[in-house]
């Protein structure tokens, strides 16, 4: 029964304390992975710049991430999530050392959920635009721009991977925090 388990806080078996520490160490490792994922995505998308070799008299064919506002949102969202993850890393490390914090686990879940929503929104909006750039849309008469800007296209497609990986990692992080709350 949970009653007998939660009254014996100091008489917890060393095995379950070890499992709690394992959970918190896994939390720190996953945070590192998510930091790397979001940072790589933001940098890969932010440094897109392709100029086509041919040009007319009046206009030069150039593609950047800032030409599409959705991709700008993607870069901004990934940067914000990366900054949050870096800032929450010390808090996670403190949890490994002393796992008795009362409210900080709840605050961590709250902000992790908010950041999950943000990174999911950015990644999937950019995915919709990248799909449109690859395939176009016959009904709306939108041409697929990947036929001309192929290196730009490859880069914006590849930068989605890191962001989606960070989304999965954030889901796992919230799950771990919920388990840590339930085992307390």
């Amino acid at each position: 029964m949970e009653g007998s388990e939660e009254h014996g806080e100091t008489s917890k078996a060393p095995l379950s304390r070890g499992v709690s520490k394992g959970v918190f160490i896994l939390d720190v490792i996953l945070r590192f992975v998510a930091i790397i994922g979001t940072l790589a995505s933001a940098i890969a998308m932010g440094t897109t710049n392709q100029t086509l070799p041919f040009f007319t008299q009046f206009i030069r064919f150039k593609a950047q991430y800032s030409d599409l506002p959705t991709l700008t949102f993607f870069v901004v969202a990934n940067s914000i999530v990366c900054a949050y993850l870096i800032l929450s890393l010390p808090l996670s490390i403190v949890h490994v050392i002393r796992s008795r914090a009362k409210y900080s686990r709840l605050i961590l879940i709250f902000f992790d959920a908010a950041m999950l929503a943000l990174v999911t929104a950015g990644a999937s909006a950019a995915a919709a635009i990248v799909y449109l750039a690859h395939k176009g849309n016959a009904r709306a008469n939108w041409l697929a721009i990947c036929q001309q800007f192929d290196s730009f296209c490859e880069r914006i497609s590849g930068s989605l991977i890191g962001s989606f990986a960070a989304m999965v990692v954030l889901v796992l992080l919230i799950f771990l925090s919920a388990i840590a709350l339930a085992r307390r």
């Binding site: 593609a63 506002p69 709250f110 929503a117 919709a128 009904r139 709306a140 939108w142 041409l143 889901v171």
Partner: protein, 225 residues
């Protein structure tokens, strides 16, 4: 064995002071009105008292579980509305050429198809999770069920956020177009289609907010116990 006590040999069910809870709990409907004072042995189900007036130490958890139940019903509405209004979006322009009729439907855009499917899945999930939430109101001490609901809510919220923001990207493109990629804003022609899909994206984001709040609520009640 005095002869002045015929009631001592009568069946315990008719006795007001229920001294035999084992037999009286077998007929809860008959004993409900007759035994308002709870027996000293704690039964898992106290009949006769409404759940919000039981004064045990689970009161806060019960209030949170009830709020969870209400919010689930509230989140079902916008999700279903978004799914239906996207699914019935079909606009045909009155101008047509000889070869081509100008028509816009949700399945011309794969993002809207994903949006429709995700909203339908989330609406179905919210209906299916209502009984589990009701069980949590009655027995607030089941932590495993709360954890399961938290994980499922979070996965559904992430999927719905993905679908809603993909649809929002397409809607934004339809409203504004893009100069660099030479994509024309189709909202100039298809007014009704545009309005309908924009409205359903807004409703879907409302469902996302409620789902996120449900996740936080579940985390609070796991911690509170």
């Amino acid at each position: 064995m005095s002869s002045g006590e015929p009631a001592a040999v009568s069946i315990p069910i008719h006795d007001h002071h229920g001294k035999a809870p084992a037999t009286s709990s077998a007929v809860p409907a008959a004993a409900a009105a007759a035994a308002p004072a709870a027996a000293p042995a704690v039964a898992p189900r106290k009949v006769g008292i409404p759940f919000f007036r039981r004064g045990d130490h689970h009161r806060g958890s019960r209030c949170l579980a009830f709020l969870d139940f209400i919010l689930r019903i509230a989140a079902f509405g916008p999700a279903l509305a978004a799914a239906i209004s996207t699914g019935t979006s079909d606009e045909t322009l009155s101008v047509f050429t000889e070869f081509y009729q100008f028509r816009a439907r949700f399945d011309d855009f794969p993002a809207f198809l994903f949006f429709l499917v995700a909203n339908a899945i989330v609406a179905g999930y919210l209906v299916l999770s209502l009984p589990f939430s009701a069980v949590l109101v009655i027995r607030p001490q089941t932590i495993g069920l709360r954890l399961l609901l938290l994980v499922c809510d979070m996965i559904m919220a992430a999927m719905l956020t993905a679908a809603a923001s993909a649809a929002a990207a397409i809607v934004d493109l339809a409203h504004n177009g893009n100069l660099r990629a030479n994509w024309v804003a189709i909202c100039m022609q298809f007014h009704g289609f545009c309005q309908r899909t924009s409205g359903s994206v807004v409703a879907s984001f409302l469902t996302v907010v409620i789902l996120m709040f449900l996740v936080i609520l579940a985390a609070c009640s796991i911690r509170k116990r």
